[in-house]
Amino acid sequence: MTGTPIVRLENVTKTYGGIAALAQADFDLHPGEIHALVGENGAGKSTLCKLIAGVITPNEGTIRVDGQDANLATPKDASRLGISMVYQETSLVPQLTVAQNMVLGRESAFNSIRKVRNAARQVLQRLNFKVDPMQLAGSLSTAKRQMVEIARAVLNEARVIILDEPTAALTPEETDHLFDLMRSLQRSGVAMIFISHALEEALNHADRISVLRNGRLTVTGQARDFDRNRLIHHMIGEELKEFEREPAASAGPGSALPVLRVENVRMGSMVNNMSFSIFPGQITGIAGLIGSGRSEVAKVIMGHTKRNFGGGRIWLEGREVRYALPAQAVADGIAYVSEDRKLDGFFETMNATENIGLGWMAKFGRRKLIAPLQRMAQAARDWESRLSIRGIGKNQSVLYLSGGNQQKVVIAKSLVQKPKLVIFDEPTRGVDVGAIAEIRQIVRDFAESGAGVILISSYLPEILDLSDRILVAKSGTIVAEFARGEATASRILHAAIH
């Protein structure tokens, strides 16, 4: 590519408390290109993006926009230069309409609802979004919210749009739509940076790819010059073992009594007559779109949310159960690994040992008046080494661990309870590539030890790779079931959509 890059970073360093989140990075972005950033969690991708978006300022080095030294002290400075960032957790105000959100912060003194609506509608139509500008932002799905944020950037005449893991919460269909949109923006000259953990996305949709590792930009190049293995090689410095798997020997229902049987469970508008059985020693994958009621039914099984009055029956090992509180489910041997570890997974003021120890206490120390601190620590350390949880410092809060280690802590907190049934909800979301393989191995090992495992995942390769049996959920019901041999991505998708 020739010409002046629209954004250029020269020798930029950003440190937090003496640790470099990004060190001596040189990076440039050309008008009209789609640039993917890949790397493990903590590699410095978000830091790089936030520097360009003016959210944080560099300790060293310069950032140039259009060849000029740019002083990006605040996001406002960046936005004046046409740089917009779309965050992973969207920043729309839920109580305002889509149109109001799109002009937020840029309203004229005399704000006309009609003018705002028309401007918003124009942009939305141009981008081919089916979103009503008068709808409240809070009522939109994650995917649509993200699209509204992109539309906002377009309305603000952004020339550079930064997308932080835009596809993390999207279904495959929505992902395709997003990339179509990005390509059409590209044709109008907008440059885009996107962070992704899905390497295929970077390979298929980006013009150029930059790989970061431990705060260093290790390589930048044309996307067509990379393949999956080379990217992984640059990301982790070594080839990642792709594990193979034989079909499970004991596969198939009927080989044992179900650990869990769920019949006609209903909960609000999310779960409608969900019925299925889970067998010991195998992994039952539940595929489906986001909002198909998978996590919701898991939380009903746990007793975390209440099912409707008369909303179905649940049997655990042949005994009918109805829990008022997850504590009862845990006592009976059910554990749930949350899909959002920050929201309801770990305790952020505590370190890994304390987190896992509390999991142990919840199951085995319930009736003890005095906290069995020694045994808690012992059980926790045992699982730390079994799952090879590597911490920066033993005294550090889990917040300072990498995504993969955080996830392992949350998993260990459940597995230390020796459950008969574990529900893994998106176990590899926001986890670095190296840890994904380890976590999948943990899930598999646990099933092989004879426990029932439910795997909820929106990532089809994961479901296909791990599951012995695959259930497909759609609008709160199980609509299809596949044995390991007969499942393919297209058959699952076909059942999940429409």
Partner: protein, 335 residues
């Protein structure tokens, strides 16, 4: 090994800057008052400070435990007065002190369980549940038991009352002993009991605590019953010192404000999960030294309130300045 884990216990690990600053300010105040105020740095005054702070420390222990569990107990002062009322009525009716105490404890357990039931089972936010129960308790006791009066006198000659204001050991009065009981019990609950581990977990992340299978409802009951019992202890100390049970303590609201002030100043954030006994002591030290020094300087109560309000605001601003909650600190986990 147990000690090893204890040293990692939450709240102790991160050096709490606010608590450190408050401590430094307190030490500075002590030095200034010692030099500038006659009669501040005397053994007699130290004793006055100790016994004057007894009820505040006891109440702060109750409130501290509640706040660490991410709760709030606005009915603490109402409970304090109610507990003292039950005790006083029993001994006024001629019951022996031990029976009176037993009935008062039983009442407080009930009151604490009522609060916990509203919060953990009916799932009303703690702020509203305890606000309602504060009004309920005050109204109930004043209407049915005091028949509209706000003052109840204690017989000064009753052995139970004499005992409560006597010196158990030379230099250690009953209120001071009760203060140590409150501190020790709060420490034991928070650091050693299983419920204490759950209290920190609930304060840190309630949904995670619930989903992990920790006994969040039972622990909520323990927390609010503990607070109610602390309120009773404070009530006994306060009423035996003054010889009256005064419902105006509830209605003028200063004491509740002071208790929350102590907890927050000491560095226990209202979002819970952090802090411990140490923080309560630091918060109490500042308030008590400030109060004592200003009283010796003949500063009026109203001016003292103004100073306390300013102190709270300065503390919160300092804390925000020291621990800015911006995108950088929020995402420090995945830079």
């Amino acid at each position: 090994m147990a000690e090893g884990l204890l040293s990692l216990a939450p709240g102790r690990r991160k050096s709490n800057l606010l608590a450190m600053i408050v401590l430094a300010v307190t030490v500075a105040l002590i030095i200034v008052f010692s030099i500038a105020v006659d009669g501040f740095a005397t053994v007699g005054n130290l004793r006055v400070i100790l016994s004057n702070s007894a009820s505040l420390v006891i109440l702060s222990c109750g409130m501290g435990v509640v706040i660490i569990s991410r709760g709030l107990d606005l009915s603490l002062i109402a409970q304090m007065v109610a507990g003292a009322t039950v005790f006083s009525i029993m001994i006024n009716a001629g019951a022996p002190g031990s029976l009176a105490l037993l009935v008062a404890v039983a009442t407080m357990v009930l009151v604490g369980m009522m609060n916990a039931w509203l919060i953990a089972y009916v799932e009303i936010p703690a702020l509203l549940a305890t606000l309602a129960s504060a009004m309920f308790i005050t109204g109930l006791f004043r209407f049915f038991i005091l028949r509209g009066e706000y003052l109840l006198l204690l017989p000064k000659t009753n052995p139970a009352v004499i005992f409560l204001s006597s010196e158990l050991l030379p230099g250690v009065s009953a209120p001071v002993a009760l203060m140590f009981v409150a501190l020790a019990s709060a420490w034991f609950l928070l650091r050693r009991m299983s419920a204490g581990r759950t209290i920190y977990a609930m304060g840190d992340n309630f949904q995670a605590a619930r989903l992990s299978g920790l006994p969040v409802r039972t622990t909520t009951i323990i927390v609010y019953v503990y607070a109610a019992l602390a309120a009773l202890m404070a009530g006994l100390v306060m009423s035996s010192a003054s010889g009256t049970v005064d419902f105006r303590t509830v209605t003028n609201g200063t004491l509740l404000f002071e208790v929350i002030l102590v907890v927050v100043l000491g560095g226990i954030p209202l979002r819970g999960g952090r802090g411990g006994i140490w923080n309560i002591l630091v918060g109490v030290a500042l308030i008590v030294v400030l109060r004592n020094g200003m009283t010796l300087l003949n500063v009026t109560a109203q001016t003292q309130d103004v100073v306390k309000g300013v102190v709270l605001i300065v503390a919160i601003v300092t804390d925000n300045y020291l621990n800015p909650r911006d995108t950088e600190t929020d995402t420090v986990g995945d830079l």
